[in-house]
């Protein structure tokens, strides 16, 4: 997965955003992939790195968390899920290439984002991004990210950041998928490629005449 994935907390929850391109070399194997995967009702993960490795990790974590959720009754905490993902990544570090961002909402800690990098390091931050596309938007995110944005501002920020990442990174593209998790539940949104406004310097679509 050459990828652009971002997650951030806002006032009331978290938003996860991702592009939709899966490439093998120069061939785009899937131009509409869904890189935002549920691990349980209130915690989702963004996957970058090897698609098969991250799918396998997600599968195992879903399995264990489902049992934990049945036992606990209450909502599973984001930290618990992130811990399980970390264990999978750390214990199998020699065999995997997986960078995941685990984000969700629980009533004890509110919205939380945990980034789990290749070797199994966990970092809890209000904003996290990963994937090949994230390297192109360091400056943009540095300037425009603020803590505790409103849901609308956060959504605008994420879609704008992903838009830039997808423009500059060859391994990212397609459409923008987002998932918003709050106390009220989970909301999925989708912005088609053709609806993503062109970035500065790009010609607007109407003016490209053959």
């Amino acid at each position: 997965l050459g990828t652009s994935i971002i997650a951030l907390t806002f006032d009331g929850g978290v938003i996860l955003g991702a592009d939709s391109r899966t490439s093998t070399g120069n061939y785009i194997a899937n131009r509409a992939s869904d890189k935002i995967t549920p691990l349980c009702d209130n915690v989702y993960t963004l996957r970058s790195g090897s698609a098969s490795d991250t799918q396998a990790i997600a599968g195992y974590v879903q399995h264990f968390i489902a049992q934990h959720q049945a036992e606990e009754g209450d909502q599973v905490t984001v930290k618990t899920v992130a811990n399980l993902v970390k264990m999978m990544a750390y214990n199998n570090k020699d065999f995997m290439q997986a960078g995941l961002i685990v984000a969700g909402f629980d009533k004890h800690g509110g919205g939380q984002v945990y980034s789990i990098s290749l070797g199994g390091t966990v970092t809890a931050t209000p904003f996290a991004m990963s994937g090949s596309g994230s390297t192109y938007i360091n400056g943009f995110c540095d300037k425009y990210w603020r803590e505790n944005m409103s849901e609308q501002d956060a959504m605008e920020f994420i879609t704008r950041a992903l838009r830039y990442a997808m423009t500059w990174d060859a391994s990212s593209g397609g459409c923008i998928r987002t998932v918003t998790i709050t106390a009220a539940g989970v909301k999925r949104q989708f912005i088609q490629g053709s609806q993503i406004p062109p970035t500065y310097g790009e010609l607007p679509r109407q003016q490209v005449v053959a």
Binding site: Y60, Q62, H63, F64, A66, Q67, G73
Partner: protein, 249 residues
Amino acid sequence: MSRGGSGYDRHITIFSPEGRLFQVEYAFKAVKTAGVTSIAVRGKDSVVFVTQKKVQDKLIDPSSVTRLFKITKYVGMLVTGLPADTRAIVQQARQQAADFRFKFGYEIPVDYLAKVLADKAQVYTQHAYMRPLGVVSMLIGIDEERGPQLFKVDPAGYYVGYKATAVGVKETEAHNFLEKKLKATPGLSYDEAVITAIGALQSVLSEEFKAADLEVGVVCDGPEGGDRAFRVLSTEDVDHFLTIISERD
């Protein structure tokens, strides 16, 4: 008839000369030592079960006492019998259901889970190293293909599907009540199913219940369904049904 056998046929699960498995029979008796009765009723788009919440000791925190368990989001289990064996079988059920979902990619059907638990129970009736569990379990869920399902699993390793059933101290009286009721009105709605189950319990125990004395679990399809998920009714919901029953009488 002379009494052959080595004399151990009461101690481990081997046949007596009359062809009985005493340990299994004793397990059934152990179920009744819980001193409660549980009833389950299947409607046309829902399944409900209800049991008495008996907390003997005033010092016990009632919120920590339960015999209803969520096995998966869609399968609920009501276990009657020895409390420690209850926890053991619930653990097994949850493990089996989770493994099934992980391996096959879809939610475990209720009848399959019942079969798995029943087969495990059967093993205990053959191996000398483990005793049978002193519990009878009722499993409910809405199957995608077959609709509402109610299954009962017992220490003998027997499992079968039911339209309605009962377990515990007053199970015979409850069965009679349920037979008459279901013969008169087959195809119950969700509300009717809950009222039948609670009504049956009240009738056979000759008791007027308060909401705190009961635990009710349901799975329901249809508009008020809640996407077929298993849920335990809140005290308010139970009160609502108890009021309907008392007003009707």
